[in-house]
């Protein structure tokens, strides 16, 4: 069975804390997502997302605080704007924008986190491996240093 690779960017104050809560609550969910903790979801650059797809991610997840609750006031709004626009670019680039998911999960929502991880994993499993055309990617030696 195809096991999707999922790159997960979680904000320290909300979603990563929710992931911790899911752990403390011993909730079980798919092992596919691997978490990178950032201070704020607004740290996530579309470059990072594209890079993740290039490195083998079949899906990319970003978790941030609910609007109005951002520890840094408005970071999540910035993330929302970026992701909204970037999804359109992804489609244009030939990457199904459903492979990128932005979700607001607060520190108290451990259960929601587990559910979303399972949901997203299954969704990506359904979409299949990304299979970026290997020929479209520059070979390591050709890259400019």
């Amino acid at each position: 069975m195809f096991e999707p690779q999922i790159m997960s960017f979680l904000c320290k104050w909300c979603t990563s804390a929710a992931a911790d809560l899911a752990g403390t609550s011993r909730l079980h969910y798919a092992p596919n997502p691997v978490n990178l903790r950032v201070m704020c979801s607004s740290r996530v650059d579309p470059q990072h997302i594209l890079y993740a797809f290039k490195e083998g991610a079949d899906g990319v997840f970003i978790g941030g605080c609910h609007p109005g609750d951002c520890h840094y006031v408005e970071g999540n709004y910035k993330t929302l704007r970026r992701v909204t626009l970037f999804k359109r670019m992804l489609d244009d680039l030939g990457i199904d924008s459903r492979r990128l998911r932005l979700e607001w999960i607060s520190a108290a929502e451990g259960k929601k986190y587990a559910q979303v991880m399972d949901e997203f994993t299954e969704q990506i499993r359904g979409l299949g491996p990304l299979q970026l055309n290997e020929n479209a990617l520059m070979k390591e030696e050709e890259k400019d240093e």
Partner: protein
């Protein structure tokens, strides 16, 4: 973007956490797999790394193996990050070279498949190695603190905050734009629920503030501008010319007698008059007269001069000028208070054109023994004692269509108080209150309200008032009693509107100067609505009183004291210590596009127009990284979470 991989020696310590991790993740296999990973000089597993022996083992290993960075693969960093940072420090390692890899809450505790959980743990740890290899040693940013506070606003909140900060032992500048401190509270007659005489309980505090050795009382002063940052503010303050020497003035009042100019008295809400040279109220602090240049016949050239002639103390001088001076402070408490929503906005209630339709503060002055009617309740138009008074709650509050959507909090209580006091003084009068709800949440509040109904026989009708207009001698009030479903029409002698509280007039300009955040209604924004109610997100600014939002006196005092305590926290530190994981600017790469400046919620970034690069105030930067993500050239990189680090972590997580 490739960064330089320093040849570092990273140590990996995989914790069993008893069976919490080891029961699912094959910790030995993980430790072994990491041994060969580039950058790893040592890799081991241990049963409980957080234990004393565990930590000692880490300290010893760091020294022995000359490690310059470590990964502790264990539980969530929220639990033991500080513990291990301490341990590392004891081993002579910079705390920012420690990485905590969460393989428990986010791995062993949530996955069932041992093989997959083990593989995931390897990926996570490899990613942290990639990060660790690129980590810089960092020191917290130290900034010194001027242990001196500025309090803007001399109402009850400002006074309370100033007194508390001064009692802590620090100097306080208390700036008040009016000739005297006292704010709105000094205008009140009696306060709920005790019916304490407002002036009696407030004047001792006012006097204390004026006499306190560490409080510099700056009345008739205004804040011109603020620059700098927490611990190091530079404030420019304008001193307005009073034309009277506050020290020499002995309050003989001879000047007032001869002044020909008559001005509506703001203290009495325009219900009486004062002279151009005046004392706002008898208990004014400082106790001095003030010459209001705007209403004086003329000072340049002098057109009248009578007041100066009769002043025995020679306290009056027309040559006084406005001066601006600079002060350095470390913390600023904003206590600028509130104003009442203008009755002009409520056309359906007469739009301020009906003399006998007044607001709560006007009624307070009428109730006050030192007010325009010497405490006898008389209506403004003809001085008649009103035999029927209607009180309308929620005038301009709780209105999402045209006015203010929020609840002004204090009106239910002060309306009950007003109705009660009216009935006490005019026992044969009729008091009717139109309400939507009666909110009596404080201590002894509901009991007070019940007294109003049961003992003082005030009639409460649940319904909004749709129209108020004048008909001959009477003021007609059209309302509805929603509990019986009937329209109610009252011919009253006087109407008191509980007008909404709004942000203080003119405060918008000041707040822009302070660059402090407000909400859409102009109330000061707190750092967190639940957990940080007295600080602004702008470091160094504290909030007190109604400037933050409608509240009553006990809450204002509590908040003022809390703000003072927070100022105390700030000043208690030898130096301010700020997380260094901020986002500096690589000036070689910065093109001065200024995109990052707009990203920052803390105004930490500014454009140096001369050099064409962005400059970061590292003390204000909170390290969210929003600017780093937006920077087109990569000039803005977050310390110890650079793009290079993120890329390498992603690779490790996807391909490890």
């Amino acid at each position: 973007m490739k960064g330089q991989k320093k040849t570092k020696r990273i140590g990996v310590f995989v914790c069993h956490c008893g069976v919490n991790i080891a029961g699912v993740v094959d910790v030995e296999k993980v430790a072994k797999t990491l041994t060969d990973y580039p950058g790893v000089a040592f890799s081991t597993n241990y049963i409980y790394v957080c234990s004393d022996p565990g930590q000692q083992m880490i300290i010893d290993t760091i020294k022995e193996k000359k490690l310059d960075g470590i990964i502790v693969a264990a539980c969530s960093p929220t639990l033991h990050e500080k513990t291990f940072q301490e341990a590392a420090r004891l081993a002579g390692l910079n705390p920012y070279q420690i990485e905590i890899a969460n393989i428990r809450e986010q791995d062993s505790w949530v996955h069932v498949d041992k093989d997959k959980a083990t593989k995931k743990a390897v990926k996570i740890i490899k990613a942290h190695v990639e990060k660790a290899v690129r980590n810089e040693s960092l020191e917290p940013i130290k900034v010194e603190v001027h242990r001196r506070a500025l309090v803007i606003g001399g109402g009850i909140s400002g006074i309370q905050a100033a007194l508390d900060i001064a009692d802590h032992g620090y100097e306080v500048l208390l700036v008040e734009k009016n000739p005297s401190i006292g704010g709105k509270m000094i205008q009140l007659s009696e306060t709920f629920p005790t019916l304490d005489c407002s002036q009696c309980i407030m004047t001792p505090k006012m006097v204390e503030a004026s006499r306190h050795p560490r409080i510099k009382l700056l009345t008739y002063h205004e804040v011109e501008s603020v620059s700098g940052f927490v611990g190091n503010f530079k404030v420019r303050i304008k001193k307005k010319p009073r034309y009277v020497d506050a020290v020499l003035c002995n309050l003989c009042a001879e000047c007032e007698k001869v002044c020909p100019q008559i001005v509506p008295d703001e203290f009495n809400m325009g219900l009486s008059f004062r002279k151009a040279i005046y004392m706002p109220f008898p208990q004014a602090v400082p106790g001095t007269y003030t010459l209001d240049a705007e209403h004086c016949l003329g000072l340049n050239p002098v057109r009248c001069g009578k007041c100066k002639d009769v002043c025995e103390k020679k306290a009056i001088s027309y040559e006084m000028q406005e001066t601006i001076f600079e002060e350095e402070v470390g913390a600023i408490v904003v206590a600028t208070g509130y104003d009442l929503y203008s009755m002009q906005a409520l056309g359906e209630y007469g739009g301020e054109k009906i003399p006998d339709v007044i607001n709560g503060l006007e009624f307070e002055r009428i109730l006050s023994a030192s007010g325009p009617t010497a405490g006898i309740i008389r209506r403004p138009s003809d001085g008649k004692v009103p035999k029927s008074v209607v009180f309308v709650q929620c005038s301009g509050s709780r209105d999402t269509e045209k006015h203010n959507p929020y609840c002004s909090k204090i009106c239910c209580m002060y309306t009950a108080k007003h109705a009660m006091l009216y009935k006490h003084r005019v026992p044969d009068g009729q008091a009717i209150v139109f309400y939507i709800d009666v909110r009596t949440g404080g201590k002894a509040f509901d009991e007070f309200y019940q007294r109003t109904i049961e003992e003082d026989k005030v009639l409460y009708i649940r319904g909004k008032v749709s129209k108020i207009f004048k008909d001959g001698d009477k003021v007609v009030v059209w309302g509805v009693d929603t509990l019986t479903g009937k329209k109610v029409e009252v011919e009253a002698d006087m109407v008191v509107l509980a007008m909404a509280m709004v942000k203080a007039e003119g405060v918008g300009d000041l707040l822009r100067k302070l660059k402090i955040q407000t909400d859409i209604h102009g109330w000061l924004a707190e750092a967190h609505p639940k957990l940080r109610p007295v600080e602004s997100l702008n470091a160094g600014f504290y909030l007190a009183g109604c400037a933050h939002g409608p509240k009553d006196i006990p809450e204002a005092v509590a908040q003022a004291s809390a703000a003072a305590a927070k100022v105390g926290d700030l000043f208690a530190q030898k130096e301010l210590s700020h997380e260094p994981t901020v986002v500096p600017v690589d000036e070689d790469k910065c093109s001065g596009c200024a995109i990052c400046i707009t990203m920052c919620p803390y105004q930490a970034r500014t454009l140096d127009t001369e050099r064409g690069v962005v400059v970061v105030n590292e003390i204000l930067c909170e390290g969210c990284g929003a600017c780093a993500a937006a920077c087109p050239s990569g000039a803005a990189q977050q310390r110890n979470q650079t793009d290079d680090q993120i890329f390498s972590m992603v690779t490790a997580m996807m391909k490890g």
